[in-house]
Amino acid sequence: MAECHPVGFQWVMEAKRRGATIIHVDPRFTRTSAVADLHVPIRAGTDIAFLGAIVNYIISNDRWFREYVVNYTNAPAIINEKFQDTEDLDGLFSGWDAEKGQYDTSSWGYEGVEVSPAAGHREMFSGEPRSERGAMLSAEKLDPTLSDPRCVFQIVKRHYSRYTPEMVEETCGVPRELFLKVAEALCENSGRDRTSAFCYAVGWTQHTVGVQYIRTAAIIQLLLGNIGRPGGGIMALRGHSSIQGSTDIPTLYNMLPGYLPMPKATYDTDLNKYVEYNKSATGWWSEFPKYIVSLLKAWYGEAARPDNDWCYGYLPHITGDHSHMVTVAAMADRMVKGYFVMGENPAVGSMNAALQRKGLRGLDWLVVRDFAPTETAEFWRSAPEVVRGEVTPEQIGTEVFFFPCSAHTEKDGSFTNTQRLLQWHHKAIEPPGDCRSELHFVYHLGKRLKELYRHSDAAKDRPILDLAWNYREIGEMQEPDAEEVLAEINGYTLPERNPLSAYTEVKDDGSTACGCWIYCGCRKDGVNQTARRKPGSEQDWVALQWGWAWPANRRLLYNRASADPDGNPWSERKKYVWWDAAQKKWTGFDTPDFIATRPPDYRPPEGAEGIATLSGIDPFIMQAEGKGWLYDPSGLLDGPLPTHYEPQESVLKNPLYGQQCNPARLEWIRRDNPYHKAWGDPHYPFVATTYRLTEHHTAGGMSRWLPWLNELQPEMFIEVSPELAELRGLENGGWATVSTIRGEIEARVLVTERLRPLNIQDEVLHQVGIPYHWSWIGRSTGDAANELTAFVADPNVSIEESKAFSVNVVAGRRPPGPRAAAAAPLTEPSGFEDPPRDLEAVQGKPIGHHGLRTGKKELTEEG
């Protein structure tokens, strides 16, 4: 965290000053470790084993927060009797459908009930959609004593019973005493008076089990009562200024603004079906129809009428995974004609860079918008394969447009930061030359397209012609008014166009338009709330008058959990939001994340619907039953409980189960995306992990051109332990070549005790650290780490695994001369037998378009 979010880290240092214990778990000793109280070096890719053992520690030592767990989590819920755990099936949960190659999740549900998850299912392309009418947990299906063997608590307990300190030592390479220190520190610092927080970044997400990493932390935090309370929580430290915003207002294939799902071709054939499949009968998602109707009103204005399903039919439908890697594989197979890349540099920052560039070569045209031509814009003339002579520019038919972009100082707009806070940045000066904002580009592109289609009467062109596309143009450059766009995102009444002030005002009768319901209120009273800048020193520590956080300017989600079931703060020290009996409403330092006037003793009457089903002790209002989930009865594709699976390319056999890898992971079986052996590949004996440095930013587009940053970290390097250096004859400051079957890179070497070999299962295991900022252009250049990585991903969110994979390292610079990583593997398979990644039942998953092998049935029958 000190490495990548130094200013955010000031709060960690402040906590430390006040007595907090800082624990850093990382394969490397980083700048964070340097100031942490405890540094735990771990084998990359084994965090679930580590965290699972903490769950086991908490339960077996009876350190969990009983009152919190019983009341606020689904611990008492009884699970379907057909459910079988990985303990029973050697690493598989019940319901594996060998034919479809995916889980049938029906056996994972609550006894007699189905529940949809708050996040996940709805916007994710998951398996069969389900109707969730009547999905209320009835009292008979709960066991408040938590002793029923089929209740969640007991299932969790059994699931993690083999996750012991000894197993941690054997799997993660973490000495037992060190593990126990961490577990004890967490338990000691949780409860009524104290809270503990987890912070993570892509070191947790970029795995084939990334979602389950975070789920494990969620189980710990729920057991310890650390969610919805000040100083608690699980913080995703996001790496871009508006990466949270681009998820809320998603430039993502599977969502519409506000976490509404993209329509799925097979099911969501019309608005009724779409609402039926995605609305929840209970909990907050029962409001679903209001949000989609208001979104359609915002997009299609007058044309959106009740008689035409509010133009629902204008929306395109998805038929499977259309995520980045799927798209790039399709590009490489020449299935995509045009590609817009705005402020991103996939030729450096995305996995299997050679395949990324092969994809770019397969396009008809490419539009890149950035400060200066990036590697993605220059792939046709100076990419490694062009320099090596494997491809020449004369063979590449892609037409490339490079548009210079405006900087944030040259445009108005809002960023959403890592804590969901929207902050407005004001335009300071005019953009130079032909530099323009993306707002300008997209708006004027839209205007041109409307003009091009003006005379069309084809049904397919109606969405363009009916698109509400009138924004005030400012100045000579005709820059659209960003605040007007924000006004649409916030939403307004129709036809008066008065700004809405809260998402509770959003309607499903066409009388409101709202571009993103969770952002509703950001222009409350017509005032740009995101531009509020009342100094932090002039308000209390929650600082509600700085910027605006979604939803409803809430700074801490599910904060009703900061009070006990009776509505009183758990302790004076951890006071945050509580029930004011006199005023009969929730109050506190923050905007309460609860129905403001619902008393703690409210219990839903028989037959209640929608929000009325949430009782006074249901803090997790986005969940259908208002409880935090220790166990995930629905929504995830790879199991209801996090389970330790090895990375796709590991150095060890899974010590816990016969199933080596996540059975539901996404693989791309292509000649240009070969994999190493599941474990013990003699060609690639070391574990590698990629990361950022403080001095650079992601793929370097915003840092490798800046001399002040380049001089601080001028060259690509790798980090190895003295032991590995000795083994491979590497010298500090010298050169090394790192290779995978997909590519090889050269880098300077830092030999350092910050990396240590791990002793696991009587073997010495070496790890290699690889920063990924560099590539071949810019003012500081070097080989790109992503030449090494593979297309392989988590099934829930299609995020690749680049934080744990196997590599080889040798001394010296990489040999010149031709190499065709994108066309064929670098090394032919050895005689060494390929150990299976999957149990027999899981083998033989179907391979779909562009080589994608997945557990998602739909993907194989794509349109």
Binding site: V7, S241, Q244, V336, W424
Partner: protein
């Protein structure tokens, strides 16, 4: 008028007159030093902003003079960053005023070997025409089973985490309405 010894031009004389015998202090001040002040006092305006790098969202202040940027530094008022910036945030001025910033649209023909500069408006027109052509050529109305698709897989988009919410909103709004579904950004990476 009284003769002010401290106004003597030659510092060596001031040394004697001012009592700063060793000449280590005030006597040695130059005119520039005497009137030195921070350049920010000349700023025309201070524009509140937000750091464009990571997701922490540190407050920035942009000092402008004569429609040029003088300085970008942390905003003390921000309850997130309290005036601090990391090395990248501190280099923001170099990022936004850097000589690396290209100011013209570049175009590379199919099979071409060099960049050509083309006017912005022409480039926009060219892109619009290509979007229409690709869309029309790859339009899918429904699946084999008759389920609605109403989309194109012929055009894709990548990027958004470095952009403003408003920009992402227009991207999603326009591209979705064009029938594009392959809209992705850094959040997936």
């Amino acid at each position: 008028m009284k003769f002010d010894l401290n106004k003597l031009v030659w510092p060596a004389l001031r040394q004697v007159s001012s009592g700063d015998v060793a000449g280590l202090g005030k006597a040695s001040f130059s005119k520039r030093t005497a009137s030195l002040k921070s350049r920010l006092s000349d700023a025309d305006r201070v524009v509140p902003s937000v750091c464009p790098y990571c997701g922490v969202g540190c407050g920035q202040e942009v000092y402008v003079k004569d429609e040029k940027i003088m300085d970008i530094e942390g905003d003390y008022a921000s309850p997130i960053s309290r005036g601090c910036l990391c090395p990248k945030g501190s280099a923001t001025m170099q990022l936004v005023t850097g000589t690396h910033r290209h100011q013209k649209v570049l175009y590379r023909r199919p099979y071409g070997t060099k960049w050509e500069e083309i006017p912005l408006q022409d480039a926009m027109d060219m892109v619009a025409v290509r979007v229409k052509k690709a869309r029309d050529a790859t339009w899918e109305d429904q699946t084999g089973k008759g389920h609605p698709l109403r989309r194109t897989l012929g055009i894709a988009h990548l990027g958004g985490a470095t952009l403003d919410n408003e920009e992402n909103y227009l991207i999603k709004k326009l591209f979705t309405s064009l029938g594009m579904v392959q809209i992705e950004n850094q959040a997936r990476i």
